[in-house]
Amino acid sequence: MTSTRRIGMTVNGERYEADVEPRTTLVDFLRGTLGLTGTHVGCEHGVCGACTVLWNGKAVRSCIMLAVQADGAELKTVEGLARGATLHPIQQAFLEKRGLQCGFCTPGLMLSIDELLARTSAPTDTEITDTIGGHLCRCTGYQAIVEAVHLAIEKLRTK
């Protein structure tokens, strides 16, 4: 139980190395060991999407992955979206369209959207719905989130 393994990874462009117990989940590692607390835990069983991070560019649920699985990976979390005080276009769009209320689901959701918009600059409505469809938001009723995605697409196009 107390045996540990040394792992290394890049998170938001920064290189980290640490000793972890093999049973440590990725989200506990990011939040507890690295102190990157912007990634949230809503269910810890892979349903809500709050813990979503990008793992080599792919959206994954960090609550049902182990930290050791991310050894050697490139990760992106919500802390990697803004440049200093300048919000990322997705964040700015969420702000302008009120795509958040309590903001607890938002970091994970924005990373799924980031993944989508990295793949295609003109997603279909179905693609947008399916991206949001992997996340639970208890506050907004999703309408403002859809509007935020459309605005983010607009902002990225004219950037």
Binding site: M1, E21, R23, T24, R31, L36, T37, G38, T39, H40, V41, G42, C43, E44, H45, V47, C48, A50, T77, V78, E79, L81, A82, A85, L87, Q91, F94, L95, E96, R98, L100, Q101, C102, G103, F104, C105, T106, P107, M110, T129, I132, G133, H135, L136, C137, R138, C139, T140, G141, Y142, Q143, A144, I145, V146
Partner: protein, 808 residues
């Protein structure tokens, strides 16, 4: 303050700014940049020196005697610092307070367990992983007892008893009668009576509850940080639980990831406090996980059996309304208990002028999770019952659902209007709201389409419902179930600093509704500054002025009142100083558009910030005897509230918002799938302080209403085992189920509330389940079927449809 203090402005025209820039506009939220960048500090983000982590061992039985607990192996595990059981709880704490009293337990089970998920043993260790390892080393011996899971059986003679000392399982029973309801039913041309069943479901904010408690035995203090919806209330209850003076208890609220009434956390707070004490004062953190929340948290509300009836005359005028409610509160009354069943008194008869009514209320205990509040508190099921009966009555009388409602609305000229159950509605125009919804949806065309599709064998249903959302809750509404007090204070302190910037200090944390922004909008417009010049800071229970926080659709209105009151007091102070500087008397000086000056003399004025600077830095200029602190506090409470009489009648909630929802669903009679096609909302909540926030509240309420109507249910089997213990089984609505709605705002300002605003956070939750269920029944009507159960899950609906097919 002198008795000559000015009243709180009830309209925008009364504030000292000719061009307000923020109030009433969809101002961006101050809270969002931190939330969007992951910097907001939620409770699980907090780490304190020497902090321990708590894990809780819970009962696997619905009802059982505890015969032995062995923690010796767990105590030896490296990293374990403290273990507490019911014995520690008995030694160091009291049972939690309940409404009504006498139906609560200690935070850890003593002698017996009463529901699956009840905390029995708790461990504090160096990590959550180690704490959970320790739980596996603990053995608890139980002697199972018969459990009672059904509310009707809980009433039967010989039923297992939750609290033997109470003699039966009846927590509360009262018959409320308002007006001559017997005559109404005797004289009626039509009586429409049905039973209804609303199953357990609940808040499920995306963030569960979390707390860090620290017991300091040297100072004799308890400090708790956490996601408390009402920190002051928490502090008071903990003072009573631990026999501490209130000023030795300090609660620090962190922003939370939603609450909706269902954050809970009292037991977890008490358990961590005991662990901290036992570990010699180390801070102990407990973050409830989702499975704990579903089985043992504040995740369940409204387990209700209704029998209700409307009495109508030949024209469809409602003469009387009778409701018999059997409310299954679960194992204890710790989660605000009977309060939720009492809330319907504040809007018992909805939008209608119904002269007589009766409420036969029985609350029972069963071996299930104690019920908790949830958005709307009690009215969502009640409003469904009323609205569905209105539809059924319309059908019986051959009236259109819109027409029967029109015939019964309280007319616009009748406000302020006192309803049979005693509350006073401040203002409204229900016909206008209904008309707006019908026009948006083109109601006539919808009915035509429905008829056309029916001839093609498709079942479209149209749901049209109205609702009243009582806003700005008051304790007097709950006097009848044993909750003392009239008035709910909300305080704010407003300060100007040496460099001229503004701060508002409040007693509540962020929760999602955007009230910091509302507070800042109001103050920015009062002093005519950029909203970026205003900062809102939450204070702990010992630092903040008296407060309650969010709950009962009150905070937007209440914090507006508090900020206006404080700004007004601060302005008086600035004026007193400025009068000295201008060598005149205060009555000659005014604040206007951010400048303080002599009335009628634009030359003699200065920015208000300079007056504050003089107060802080130029004592030589100040008139003698002046208070040099450019800061003021105001504690707002709703005006004109009255104590309740023996039938619960009181002027309770200050405002009455109104909405009309129109929805079209299609029911697939082969698969029982219900698809929401279109959704329109006309909504009148008076002045909208921040329209974008109101829309967000409405849409969020619709989503929760869709969940309630179609998906969400906490299912227990006959042994009291929870069958919905994860998000795989307890289904929250996703974007696939929630309709994108078309909304229209109407505005009948409140004549009583600050700036004419009304509470607006809960109304959509009152209306949406009712609208969807009415629509489903509208679709099923040609088949001669009625469906009166929430949620209308596919399986339930399918059973009904299949049964009907067999019978045919």
């Amino acid at each position: 303050m002198s008795s000559a203090e000015k009243a709180i402005p009830r309209s925008l025209a009364e504030i000292p700014n000719s061009r307000p820039r923020y109030i009433g506009r969809p101002t961006n939220r101050l809270e969002d940049p931190a939330l969007l960048t992951g910097r907001t500090q939620f409770i699980d983000d907090v780490v304190l020196p020497r902090m321990l982590h708590c894990a809780i061992l819970r009962s696997p039985h619905a009802h059982a005697k505890i015969t032995a607990i062995d923690t010796s192996a767990a105590e030896k595990l490296a990293g374990v610092a403290a273990i507490v059981t019911g014995e520690d709880a008995r030694r160091w704490s009291n049972p939690v307070m309940t409404v009504p009293p006498g139906w609560g337990t200690h935070c850890l089970a003593i002698d017996k367990v009463r529901f699956v998920g009840e905390p029995v043993v708790a461990v504090a260790a160096t990590s959550r992983y180690v704490a959970e390892d320790a739980l596996e080393l603990i053995t608890v011996d139980y002697e199972p007892l018969p459990a009672v899971v059904d509310a009707r059986q809980a009433l039967a003679v010989g039923s297992p008893l939750l609290f033997e000392e109470n003699g039966d399982n009846v927590m509360f029973r009262k018959l409320f009668t308002w007006g001559d309801v017997d005559a109404a039913f005797t004289d009626a041309a039509h009586v429409v009576q049905r039973d209804f069943r609303w199953h357990r479901l609940g808040a499920n904010p995306l963030e569960t509850f979390g707390v860090i408690s620290q017991w300091d035995e040297v100072e004799g203090t308890l400090t708790c940080r956490g996601s408390f919806q009402a920190q002051n209330h928490f502090a008071m209850s903990r003072a009573m639980v631990f026999n501490l003076p209130l000023h030795k208890v300090r609660f620090i609220s962190h922003p939370h990831g939603g609450s909706f009434g269902g954050k809970g956390g009292a037991r977890g707070t008490d358990i961590t406090a005991l662990l901290s004490r036992k570990s010699g004062g180390r801070p102990v953190k407990w973050i409830e996980d989702r499975m704990e929340y579903l089985a043992g948290g504040a995740s369940q509300a409204w387990d209700r059996h209704y029998d209700a009836a409307l009495a109508l005359d030949v024209d469809g005028k409602v003469l009387g309304f009778r409701v018999r409610l059997l409310d299954d509160l679960g194992a204890t009354a710790e989660g605000w208990g009977a309060v939720s069943a009492a809330k319907p008194l504040t809007a018992f008869t909805g939008c209608y002028a119904i002269p007589a009514a009766q409420y036969d209320l029985t609350i029972v205990a069963t071996n299930k999770l104690p019920g908790s509040p949830y958005r709307g508190m009690g009215p969502p099921p009640h409003n469904w019952v009323l609205e569905q009966l209105m539809d059924l009555a319309a059908r019986e009388l051959g009236l259109d659902p819109a027409e029967i409602r029109r015939r019964n609305f309280i007319p616009p000229a009748a406000f302020p209007y006192t309803i049979a159950s005693g509350n006073e509605y401040d203002s409204g125009n229900y016909e206008a709201t209904l008309a707006a919804a019908l026009a948006m949806g083109d109601y006539r065309a919808l009915r035509e389409k429905q008829a056309r599709l029916r001839s093609e064998g498709r079942y479209l249903g149209i749901g049209l419902v109205t609702t009243i959302e009582p806003g700005v809750f008051d304790w007097n509404a709950y006097a009848i179930v044993g909750q003392p007090g009239t008035g709910v204070p909300e305080g704010a302190t407003v300060a100007i600093d040496l460099f001229g910037k503004l701060t508002i200090k409040v007693g509540f944390a962020l929760e999602g509704q955007g009230q910091y922004t509302v507070a800042a909008q109001v103050l920015a417009d009062w002093f005519n500054v950029d909203i970026a010049d205003v900062r809102v800071i939450p204070l702990d229970t010992l630092s903040a002025p008296p407060h309650f926080g969010p709950g009962g659709s009150r905070l937007g209105v209440a914090v507006t009142g508090a900020v206006l009151g404080a700004a007004q007091r601060l302005t008086e102070k600035l004026i007193a100083v400025a009068a000295g500087l201008f060598r005149t008397t205060p009555d000659q000086v005014e604040l206007r558009d951010g400048r303080i000056g002599v009335k009628g003399n634009p030359e003699a004025s200065m920015p208000f910030q300079e007056v504050a600077q003089a107060m802080l830095g130029r004592s030589d200029l100040l008139p003698p005897g002046i208070d040099p602190n450019p800061e003021a506090t105001y504690v707002w409470t709703a005006p004109g509230r009255t104590p309740a009489d023996d039938q619960g009648r009181a002027k309770s909630y200050l405002t009455a918002a109104n909405a009309c929802h129109l929805v079209v669903v299609e029911v697939d009679v082969d698969t029982a799938q219900v698809r929401i096609e279109k959704y329109w909302i006309a909504d009148d909540c008076g002045t909208r302080l921040n329209p974008a926030s109101v829309e967000g509240q409405t849409q969020g309420g619709v989503a929760q209403g869709v969940g309630a109507a179609l998906l969400e249910e906490a299912v227990y089997d006959e042994d009291g085992q929870l069958r919905t213990s994860t998000f795989m089984d307890y289904l929250l609505p996703t974007i696939y189920e929630v309709p994108m709605t078309v909304k229209q705002a109407l505005c009948t300002p409140s004549p009583f509330a600050p700036l004419g605003a009304k509470g607006c956070g809960e109304g959509a939750m009152h209306a949406t389940p009712a609208a969807i269920l009415c629509a489903i029944n509208d679709a099923l009507a040609p088949l001669g079927l009625e469906f009166r159960e929430v949620p209308a899950s596919p399986q339930r609906l399918w059973t009904l449809l299949r049964q009907a097919r067999r019978d045919r």
